[in-house]
Symmetry: C2
Subunit: 244 residues, 2 copies
């Protein structure tokens, strides 16, 4: 509990390599996470080759850590392995549909978080790279993902070479609802977001972007509707191409 | 690491209630998990009321643990809170699209797994209930989830009243790929699935269902194409209704 409460994402790594056996051991441990019908609908692609990392970085807006991290982990929703098993057993797999993708993505993300927690308990640092959904088609091409395999989360992994400040989180009463969802009043919103809005870095980004407040930094620059719509179209097209 | 390696899903719970403060503390801890742009795109609905649990059980095929567990946790992808914040700050949220749903679902599932790991470290038992996607529309109605909120994972929570055998997992070399995805040959499939197919419970299910092998149990009975297609249509309609 203490390890997790003190966790922070790590973006700078020492040159010390991460042994392949350690990654295997962490993956074996993480595979104890819950999985739909015990089907384990995921694969983990571990990229350590410099040229391959550089190609992946192209799909992640050239974020330096994709090249600099000793290992880049692409967690993939994978119904291919299961479908191959079915085909080898004269069973007809019916998993080329949306709910099957979503079940596989769920398995994958539970496995990914379990992996990260175990990695951090073992002294490693991780950073979830949120740009996997920006260019899934490119990642599919680079990693050679076949039909029914889709990249859902990328994680940079290595031994930490920094100890950054923890980032803020919303007060927990802003996240929890009792028995049923209680929608947020304007007063609730003011209270829940007050600490975040008062942070020096929030004020810095507001000034830098010339907006009135932090919310406008998100809607006008960081996560715009136009970008989201364009990414939605690319992701939908990539899902279709992968057979979901 | 040891706790996690020895985990099993728990489906029978003691009558000992789970203190609300403990759930809050676990949720606060779990909120340290990575989150897209630090937006924390999730809510946790904690259902302890017996009548509400019974209504939720209707949406989960009357699985007994939904009523019997002291607490039923519905982890929801939530862009409503963030969008409300934007609206209160004269910022125009553009999150009614597929990639925004998927980003919120990703945040939610990382948070959910972190929560479960911390809960188990604190002596609680959990069981992920895989039927949330079967009837999302019903769950949305029961919990009163507004636009831009969608249930993605349900977890039963309580102090264990059983110590079941661990279920099997595939050998880890069947999950990991190095640098790029290496597709599975028929020989790979035989090797990866050999131990699972040889289990007494696998043989039992094959005999019970009158199939030739375990894969056919999955494709003909447990996860059929017709069911998957019907669920995909329901899920897509529910996503649209929730504004994604």
């Amino acid at each position: 509990m203490k390890t997790f409460a003190e966790r922070r994402s790590i973006r700078k790594y020492s040159q010390r390599p991460v042994p392949g056996e350690l990654i295997e051991s962490l993956a074996a441990g993480a595979s104890r996470a819950a999985t739909m019908g015990n089907m384990q609908l995921y694969s983990l692609v571990v990229t350590t080759d410099l040229d391959m990392k550089s190609r992946l970085a192209d799909a992640h807006h050239r974020q330096p850590m994709v090249v600099e991290a000793p290992a880049v982990l692409t967690f993939c929703a994978d119904f291919n392995r299961f479908a191959r098993w079915c085909e080898c057993r004269d069973a007809v797999p019916g998993y080329g549909n949306f709910v099957s993708f979503f079940n596989a993505a769920t398995d994958t993300l539970l496995f990914a978080q379990a992996f990260c927690t175990l990695a951090e308990e073992n002294g490693l640092g991780t950073c979830v790279i949120g740009t996997t959904v920006d260019n899934p088609g490119d990642i599919i091409g680079i990693l050679g993902l076949p039909r029914l395999v889709f990249p859902v989360l990328t994680v940079a992994l290595g031994y930490p070479d920094e100890h950054p400040e923890q980032t803020d989180r919303l007060p927990v009463e802003g996240i929890i609802h009792h028995d049923r969802y209680k929608d947020y009043s304007a007063g609730d919103i003011d209270r829940i977001y007050a600490a975040k809005e008062a942070l020096p870095e929030s004020r810095y980004f507001v000034e830098l972007n010339g907006t009135d407040n932090l919310a406008q930094v998100f809607t006008r620059f960081r996560f715009t509707e136009a970008d989201n719509i364009a990414m939605s179209e690319k992701m939908t097209a990539a899902l279709k191409k992968q057979g979901f």
